[in-house]
């Protein structure tokens, strides 16, 4: 049952991603309503899937890579729907839904079996630490999408190619502002995730910090976003540079999330 929910949600996200990409070439009111409708439908089923897994397994369903990736996508969609509702930025979906789809596909390709929790994971820290981490990461994912939008729009304005896409993309100022706000939201969540993670590590392994690759890369990510905020406040790095840094930051997030697990060995199961 919960697998079917996941598959249908994935299908809706796929359709939404296709529509959103087509919207780059030609968009109408109807097409953006269709896109939004597909996302909402996918999100509802996705939520049902997560709740179902929680009920079946009895613990928060963020205990393996499949679940983590799925929950990550869920958080991104949540941010996306909120921004759509709050700002109605033109073409935001075209830059976000493909990202969501990629996460969902990778989730679908990872083993889905619900195994009993290993003793290390049997802790209330599991829910707190992972939810904090993924809300933060989802905010960074949004900042990444908006950073790309900024660079595209900035390119149009600088090079004076004021075509149809320029007309439909939001203004530079609003993109820069939302990018900044998302990072100010994501950063404290990431900070708290690292703190709760080390508290958990202390209770599970007896040590706050063990220079595990996951820990190291989280710290690198943290420094990148700290830098984004710092240079913005001190040197007024905004616009293009802020957008580039937020894209870079998200690459670090991705590496922490996927790269560390597949390339480096980590204590961290996901």
């Amino acid at each position: 049952m919960e697998i079917i929910l996941f598959e249908i949600a994935l299908t809706f996200y796929f359709a939404a991603a296709i529509v959103s990409i087509l919207e780059l070439f030609k968009s109408t009111k109807t097409s953006s309503y269709i896109m939004l409708g597909l996302v909402v439908a996918g999100f509802a089923l996705h939520t049902a899937n997560i709740v179902a897994r929680y009920v079946i397994s009895g613990h928060i369903p963020i205990a393996n890579m499949h679940e983590a990736s799925s929950f990550f996508s869920w958080c991104i969609v949540m941010f996306f729907l909120f921004l759509e509702y709050r700002y109605k930025l033109g073409l935001l979906g075209s830059f976000i839904m493909p990202v969501v789809f990629v996460f969902m596909v990778s989730s679908s390709m990872l083993p889905r079996k619900m195994e009993p929790l290993s003793p290390v994971l049997q802790s209330y820290w599991l829910g707190i630490h992972t939810v904090l981490a993924f809300i933060g990461d989802a905010a960074f994912a949004m900042a990444f999408g908006i950073g790309i939008m900024y660079l595209v729009q900035e390119h149009f304005v600088k090079s004076k190619h004021l075509g149809g896409l320029f007309q439909r993309l939001p203004s530079l100022q609003i993109l820069d502002e939302i990018n900044y706000r998302l990072i100010t939201i994501g950063f404290p969540f990431l900070t708290l995730a690292i703190i709760t993670g080390s508290l958990w590590a202390e209770s599970a392994w007896g040590k706050f910090w063990r220079w595990d690759p996951k820990e190291v890369w989280s710290l690198i990510t943290w420094f990148i976003y700290a830098l984004v905020l710092h240079v913005r406040l001190i040197a007024g790095w905004r616009g293009k540079r802020a957008a580039v840094l937020s894209i870079l930051g998200f690459c670090a997030v991705l590496f922490t999330f996927f790269g560390v697990n597949f390339i480096l060995k980590s204590m961290h199961t996901f």
């Binding site: 729009q153 304005v157 600088k158 007309q167 203004s171 530079l172 616009g239």
Partner: protein, 422 residues
């Protein structure tokens, strides 16, 4: 009844003639009533704007009516007919309908796709409606003109994108700053185009206007015009830090702002974005400045290029709009022909014939044993009754009366004759 349009516009008449023929203020009411009193004119509405004067009418005889309307115009505006006659265009029937649709859809405007004309048509029509000088035909025509214009607007991109330099500047500024309220603006130098663009920016909410001029007195003059603050030429680099939008038009022979200076300004501004429009020829601002992050420099040629592509785009869209208009004209003509009395009379006959046939069939079914002679007699009776019943409506329809259109509509409703429209 026939549709007749007599008018002139910016293409056919110069401003002198347009002014003389305009129906301004109270003269509009007088004019509409005067036109309605012409014997041939059944329905009339007048559109009078600075670019066009048009008389939309429904008449019995287009040739006679056109002649009377021209005479009326001459008398009403006290000018000789020959002075303006060559500037007039006269459209009849299909061409008249097409013309009205093209005007309302802004295909006939000086700037294709400009939005004001639709509002002006609505006003002209509402005015005529309130003065009761229109009827079934013109009401429908005007409604269709408005809905066609809306269709053109939603189905084509005719009204998208700015087609004047100052509009393009404002649009661009909005893509950089989202909205202009609270932004500060510096006018460097003077000049017609620069002042026009400045006025556009102020109308769009720009606050804190700074005016810099080599002659301080001239700067003060301009500043008071924009409710701004005059700034001495020597101080402008210093004040530049506070300007989000800069329009430059100084007529200096060399650059007045160099890249190094701008880099310093940006540092002081903490990299907040700046939009600079250099209208001067030769250019007054080092084009290299566009390479600085968060600085967007547009020269007058850049803006002109934007405007040219937009105008070209509108022309392409105008082709699509013509297709839509052709469809709507055809629909309207079909509706008009359904208003003619002949098809209604035919339909009425058919209806009566149909009822008669059905009832006779039922009658025969109920009395199958009746002999042929009696059946004949009943048939005769039925025919007589149905003919008598439709006789007077037919006569009324054939009469050339003033309210025939309403009569036709009414008869169709009373006898349940369906219009095959849309």
């Amino acid at each position: 009844m026939k549709v007749l349009v007599i008018g002139l516009n910016h293409k056919t008449a110069n401003v002198d003639i347009r002014e003389k023929l305009a129906f301004n203020g109270p003269r509009l009411e007088e004019g509409v009533f005067g036109l309605r009193k012409i014997p041939d004119v059944r329905e009339v509405a007048v559109l009078s704007t600075c670019n066009r004067v048009e008389i939309f009418s429904c008449v019995n005889n287009t040739v006679a009516a056109a002649d009377s309307i021209k005479n009326f115009l001459a008398a009403f505006h006290s000018i000789t007919r020959t002075d303006f006659e060559k500037s007039l265009y006269v459209h009849r029937d299909e061409e008249a309908v097409r013309h009205i649709f093209r005007v309302s859809s802004s295909l006939d405007s000086m700037v294709i796709g400009e939005p004001q004309i639709l509002g002006q048509i609505k006003d002209a029509f509402d005015f005529a409606l309130s003065k009761k000088t229109t009827g079934v035909l013109l009401n429908k025509l005007m409604k269709k003109a408005i809905s066609t214009a809306k269709r053109v607007r939603t189905e084509t991109r005719i009204a998208e994108n700015a087609v004047s330099i100052s509009f393009a500047a404002v649009e661009l500024a909005k893509k950089i700053f989202t909205n202009l309220s609270g932004r500060s603006f510096m006018l460097l130098g003077a000049g017609e185009m620069a002042e026009l663009a400045a006025r556009h920016l102020v109308n769009n909410g720009v606050q804190d206007v700074m005016v810099v001029n080599r002659t301080y007195e001239r700067g003060c003059e301009l500043a008071s015009e924009f409710n701004g603050k005059p700034i001495r030429w020597e101080d402008f680099l210093h004040e530049l830090v506070h300007a989000d939008i800069i329009i430059c038009s100084t007529g200096a022979p060399t650059y007045v702002l160099l890249k190094e200076q701008m880099l310093k300004v940006m540092k002081e501004r903490k990299q907040r974005p700046v939009f600079i429009i250099d209208i001067s020829v030769p250019r007054n601002i080092d084009p290299e400045i566009n390479k600085i992050d968060n600085v967007y420099l547009y020269s007058v040629d850049d803006l002109q290029e934007v405007v040219d592509t937009n105008i070209h785009g509108r022309k392409v869209e105008a082709g699509k709009a013509e297709d839509i208009i052709n469809q709507e004209v055809e629909k309207f003509l079909r509706w008009m022909s359904s208003l003619e009395s002949v098809p209604t009379i035919v339909a009425l006959r058919q209806k009566a014939e149909e009822i008669k046939r059905e009832e006779l069939e039922k009658f025969r079914g109920r009395f199958p044993d009746l002999d042929a002679e009696k059946v004949k007699a009943v048939e005769y009776l039925a025919t007589a009754i149905s003919n008598k019943l439709i006789h007077s409506p037919t006569v009324a329809l054939k009469e050339d009366s003033e309210d025939r259109d309403e009569l036709i509509a009414m008869i169709k409703k009373l006898y349940g004759i369906n219009e095959d429209e849309e």
